[in-house]
């Protein structure tokens, strides 16, 4: 009888261990699946030197920034090549994006702070909407929305439109905001996806300027 009890107890312990390991395994796989889903859609965030998850693993990092020419709100054509020799922050944003609205004042302050060192921000509106190229009325409305945002936020840097046309060369632009930091030689030195902090942005700007961290 005592032996039976011992055997049953041992079996119950084994069952408990199996049960716990199965549950832990399921949790691990569930989290891995969620991570895979997130990384497939948003790229991969890795920690910077300060331990903050702010860097986006982009295939563009370390490569020349793809060239582009877009129009600003007045219809003037602006090219990335116009800023040769300067450090440039290419900031893809959208009027409907609350995190973009939060980071815009930081961009304005940082642009004004570092402009004297050869730094510029190019804000590129990327509405991601299904606007047909020949839908003039919709584009007029879109431009009005962008102009309203630019005025409200007092954005002192060039704001370009139709960033959606750069989606392919800039890796999809699946979410806003997304920023590419380009150094004076035209190489992408950092990529940031989503809202991080003013300090992160400043560190990346200094990296683009060649001023160190």
């Amino acid at each position: 009888m005592k032996r039976n009890t011992l055997v049953l107890f041992a079996v119950l312990v084994i069952l408990a261990i199996f049960g716990w390991s199965g549950w832990a395994n399921w949790q691990y796989r569930k989290q891995a699946a969620e991570r895979a889903l997130a990384s497939a859609e948003h790229g991969e965030l890795v920690s910077d030197a300060g331990g903050n998850a702010s860097q986006y693993l982009s295939p563009l990092k370390g490569k020349p920034a793809p060239a582009f020419t877009l129009e600003d709100l007045s219809g003037k054509k602006v090219s990335l090549a116009d800023y040769k020799g300067k450090a440039v922050l290419i900031n893809f944003w959208a009027t409907w994006c609350a995190p973009c609205k939060i980071e815009t004042p930081w961009l304005v302050e940082l642009r004004n702070q570092y402009a004297g060192q050869g730094f510029e921000v190019l804000g590129i509106s990327t509405e991601g909407d299904d606007l047909a190229p020949d839908d003039k009325a919709a584009w007029v409305k879109e431009k009005a929305e962008i102009a309203k945002f630019v005025k409200a936020e007092k954005m002192p840097y060039p704001v370009l439109i139709n960033g959606d046309s750069l989606s392919k060369p800039y890796g999809g632009l699946d979410s806003m905001p997304t920023s590419f930091y380009v150094d004076r030689s035209g190489t992408v030195v950092a990529v940031q996806m989503g809202l991080t902090s003013k300090e992160d942005m400043e560190a990346n700007i200094r990296k683009a300027l060649g001023a160190g961290m």
Binding site: N4, V11, W26, E34, A40, P99, G128, S175, L195
Partner: protein
């Protein structure tokens, strides 16, 4: 007596071990489910919002009839409610194409939950997350209509936003 006693022990052990084996197999099988599920869904094409039900409804023809449309928002994301607190935010809106044989008489949206982004506590958003339902009233003409209603929304997480999206909400509406 001794033999009988020993003969009972293996029986109990065998039953218990057999049970353990069956349960272990079940646990292991269960542990595989997230990976088994994943190939069947396109990771990169998963929508932020998924229409759940109903797939088919039967309503009196020519009369406004209530129908609750249920949706699920992907974990970790939220979408603006129907009444976001700022003009620049895109509201969630249900619509039905005009030539579908069914008209949207009215739609009552749930109240959004207040959300504050950690980076800017002063900004308050009105959002849906998890499951939500839109209480619609539709008017169907007589007959069977495969309606492709539309839900327009714009989704974000705490730090980034996805482009606005319009998904199709397929409902088989029978007007009697």
């Amino acid at each position: 007596m001794r033999i009988r006693r020993w003969s009972r022990v293996p029986d109990a052990s065998c039953v218990s071990l057999g049970l353990a084996a069956v349960l272990t197999a079940a646990v292991v099988a269960g542990a595989q489910s997230p990976l088994i599920d994943s190939p069947s869904r396109s990771v990169t094409k998963t929508e932020a919002v998924e229409y759940l039900f109903p797939e088919q409804i039967s309503v009196p023809a020519g009369k406004p009839s209530p129908v609750a449309l249920h949706f699920r928002i992907r974990a970790g994301l939220h979408i603006n409610s129907h009444t976001p607190p700022a003009d620049y935010l895109i509201p969630t809106v249900l619509s039905i194409p005009e030539d579908s044989g069914v008209k949207l008489h009215s739609a009552s949206y749930p109240e959004g939950a207040e959300l504050t982004l950690p980076a800017d506590p002063a900004t308050k958003l009105s959002v849906y997350s998890g499951d939500f339902a839109i209480q619609a009233k539709i008017v169907a003409s007589p007959g069977d209509h495969l309606v492709e209603a539309k839900l327009r929304y714009q989704a974000c997480d705490q730090n980034a936003c996805l482009p606005p999206k319009t998904i199709t909400v397929p409902i088989d509406v029978v007007g009697k």
